[in-house]
């Protein structure tokens, strides 16, 4: 396989420095490309950069926004990364988030007058369990019939969305909501307390994310269970040889990912949204995949990658107004991140060489 007289060959060794450089190079290249692109559309590059990366950090309100967007991204990415290390590809965190949110919202919808202090903890537990159950479907199908978890989780996301739409236009619709497809507003007992001052929407779900991040760090670096998962990912034959169960790895990976996504779903409905509505997340479940890889599948890396991705979300909203760029800017930037990540990872793993003269072409033919 060659292109314009060049071919890529796998490197014998990859240096750890190069692996560390991957996320940094990815981010720098993405920013440069974005600035060039939006300048071509007539935006002032200085303003674009300022509104993307400085302004989100300039006021407590904006900081709060960054935190509440980073929180679900980090939470989901931590869960997914554990599975990704075992090469179990849960692509459907978005669906697990939706189902987690739906199930958790049953408490505040049916007991909308309740003042019980158990309401929020109840929602957290139910949300996590529901996300697990939804991911468990994919685990069952994979473990029993070897059905690709990539496709199953992705399709389950579409089903989850339809379930949400059905419930919001029927059983869970607010009876006095002028027929809008949304639930009643949750009582205060069903909401995370906010902090950081007036108008700031950051809430205590951030604490949960912090606790989960620390928990993941302990799990990944110290536990034997995570070691077994990881061996299954890097060398499945060695895992089988050692007697580490593949079935167990599938279940564990998907259940952990589902629980994290379900928790993130609770963070949305019990946080800034405060009710069940058709749009629960701006694609956190998918963006978290990028966050997981950008963070090198390491809990600490994911924490910073999640903050960065949240910055892009918030900065994109700001730049929309101040620099006059298109509304799709954050999604474009996510796309750039993914493309540059894959490209730089490829070049860390491969070296480019010139194909020797015409002989090489004959040899390849």
């Amino acid at each position: 396989m060659s292109f314009l007289g060049f071919t890529a060959l796998p490197r014998a060794e990859t240096s750890p420095v190069a692996l560390l450089a991957v996320p940094l190079v990815t981010i720098v290249l993405s920013i440069v490309t974005m600035v060039v692109m939006f300048s071509a559309l007539g935006a002032d590059p200085g303003v674009v950069l300022y509104s993307f990366f400085i302004e989100p950090l300039s006021s407590s309100y904006n900081l709060g926004e960054v935190l509440i967007k980073a929180s679900p991204l980090i939470l989901i990415a931590q869960g997914l990364a554990i599975g990704f290390r075992a090469r179990v590809w849960n692509i459907g965190a978005e669906g697990q988030l939706i189902i987690g949110a739906i199930c958790a919202s049953l408490l505040p919808i049916f007991w909308s007058d309740s003042q019980s202090a158990w309401m929020l903890p109840g929602m957290i537990v139910i949300g996590a369990l529901a996300g697990m159950a939804w991911a468990g479907i994919a685990a069952y199908l994979k473990a029993s019939f070897n059905a690709s978890e990539i496709i199953v989780t992705l399709m389950l996301t579409e089903i989850a969305k339809q379930v949400l739409y059905y419930l919001l236009t029927g059983p869970l619709k607010d009876p006095s909501g002028y027929n809008f497809p949304q639930s009643v507003m949750f009582p205060d007992a069903g909401l995370y307390p906010t902090f950081g001052g007036d108008g700031v929407r950051a809430n205590l779900s951030v604490i949960i994310t912090l606790v989960v991040t620390i928990g993941c760090w302990v799990f990944v670096t110290k536990s034997f269970a995570a070691f077994r998962l990881m061996v299954g990912g890097v060398a499945s034959d060695a895992a089988r040889y050692a007697g580490f169960s593949q079935r167990r790895a599938i279940w564990m990976s998907l259940l952990i990912g589902g629980a994290a996504a379900g928790l993130a779903g609770v963070g949305e409905i019990a946080g800034p949204i405060g009710k069940l509505q058709p749009i629960l997340s701006p694609g956190y479940g998918y963006a978290a995949i990028i966050v997981a890889f950008l963070g090198g599948l390491h809990p600490i890396g994911i924490f910073f990658a999640g903050l960065f991705m949240a910055l892009v979300y918030v900065g994109g909203d700001i730049a929309l107004v101040s620099a006059g760029i298109p509304a799709s800017a954050p999604v474009v930037f996510q796309g750039l991140l993914l493309v540059f990540y894959l490209a730089s990872y490829f070049f860390v793993r491969h070296e480019v060489r010139r194909v020797p003269q015409a002989d090489g072409l004959r040899g390849a033919a």
């Binding site: 014998a12 060794e13 110290k222 536990s223 034997f224 269970a225 070691f227 061996v231 890097v234 060398a235 034959d237 060695a238 895992a239 089988r240 040889y241 050692a242 007697g243 580490f244 169960s245 020797p356 003269q357 002989d359 090489g360 004959r362 040899g363």
Partner: protein, 524 residues
Amino acid sequence: MLISPGSAAGSGAQPESLLRLEGITKSYGSLIANDKIDIHIRPGEIHAVLGENGAGKSTLMKIIFGVTQPNAGTIYWKGRPTEISSPARARALGIGMVFQHFSLFETITVAENISFTVPGDIRDLSRRIRAASETFGLAVEPDALVYKLSVGERQRVELVRCLLQEPSLLILDEPTSVLTPQAVEKLFVTLRMLSDKGIAILYISHKLEEIRALCHSATILRHGQVTGHVDPREETSRSLAKMMIGRDIPRSTHAEAKPDAKIALRVSGLSTRERDPHAVNLKGVCLEVRRGEIFGIAGVSGNGQQALSRFLSGEETLPAARKGEIEILGDAVGHLGAAERRRQGLSFIPEERLGRGAAPGLSLNDNMLLTGHRLGMVARGFIRKRVRDEHAERCIREMDVRCGGSGSNASSLSGGNLQKFIVGREMMLRPKVMVVAQPTWGIDIGAATMVRQKLVDLRDAGVSILLISEELEELFEISDRMAVMFEGRMSPPVHTRTTTPERIGQMMVGVFDARDEIATEAAQ
């Protein structure tokens, strides 16, 4: 051992030079794989390149076949400096190569496979294949489907494919590693015939007896350097080995086994149905390994040994209804997974070291944890790194594993050193039954001898060992009884001390004789 001394061939060789390498050097980073190598090959000469694994043989062949380019030095082809920039260029010059691992498509015919590299329509090609197979004594049927062919037949297909391109130099990489003794004899007849016709052969091997029987000259490599150009017919195996490893060969020593009547591992009537339709199924395999003996299983690879080792190790399991087909120390274990069988006292050394016996990309510490976790390395679900590292370091010390410490990556070790680590680790588990597959395949003599000695030591300590090996010499050296696998069937066991390689060779092609002294009874 099994081969009669070579004819005084080389008579047809013309004096002029076919291939000459001068000062060929190739380095990968800090590792110098080839250091100023000089080799000189005449037409019709059978020239051996002899060396341990990692001595630089493969790199040298890759340079000659154009797969990789040297950093320095010159290649003269028929007296002219030549750059061999690719395998296609090598073929155009008249260099053919048969690799250790064959490159044939299994689901199409021999002629169709050959048509990928040799132009011409299939009918014409089939005719030429038949002609070539008659001329060179290489029985090959052009219309046969490749998946039905034995390993020996596949090798003949590769050879015919090379010969149809009328090479003046043929490179053979460890060609006998997959052959029975009888097939080796046949191959040698063909190679001598080729030599008489003026085709030079570059013969890569680590089997000293073969080289002495076949080759006219030999270049010996050690650590990337040439340590000698000799006429192998005038050397002894011992002197060749000394040049190859730089010191005398250590030999493993042991007395006759004293097995007791207790059966530690029993397989009774194990039959399997593989998912891959081309794979070999086990057909009613029965065997019994006593406490304190080494039971060898001979056979050409691909006769069901892989399936047997997977079912014995627990990497594949039987349905609970058939659990009694495999017993460890009297307990039915056929339905148990690999981890549970280890708990019953089994340990297993697989034939693939990197990727199965050890995880590449992980440190030796982590690879110690892989199966050694039962040795107190895990407490309440958490890894006790200190205990783990201590075990890894002890294993490295006791097995003399050459590496940069217990933190070094498993992939950075040579095959022999990694194997020593794996053997050491599995011994630390204090097994009662050990299943070992191809323990010395492709590792240097020093490491191989050590591994064999450790197996004998284990046996003397009362461990039952099942040794699956393709190396007859190894089986004759250390096993007490042995049986042969052929097409998924197991021969009756024989006593190693009362049988001959020729007898085993016959069994390797499926001639199991009921009159054979059945060792089971004799051992009682």
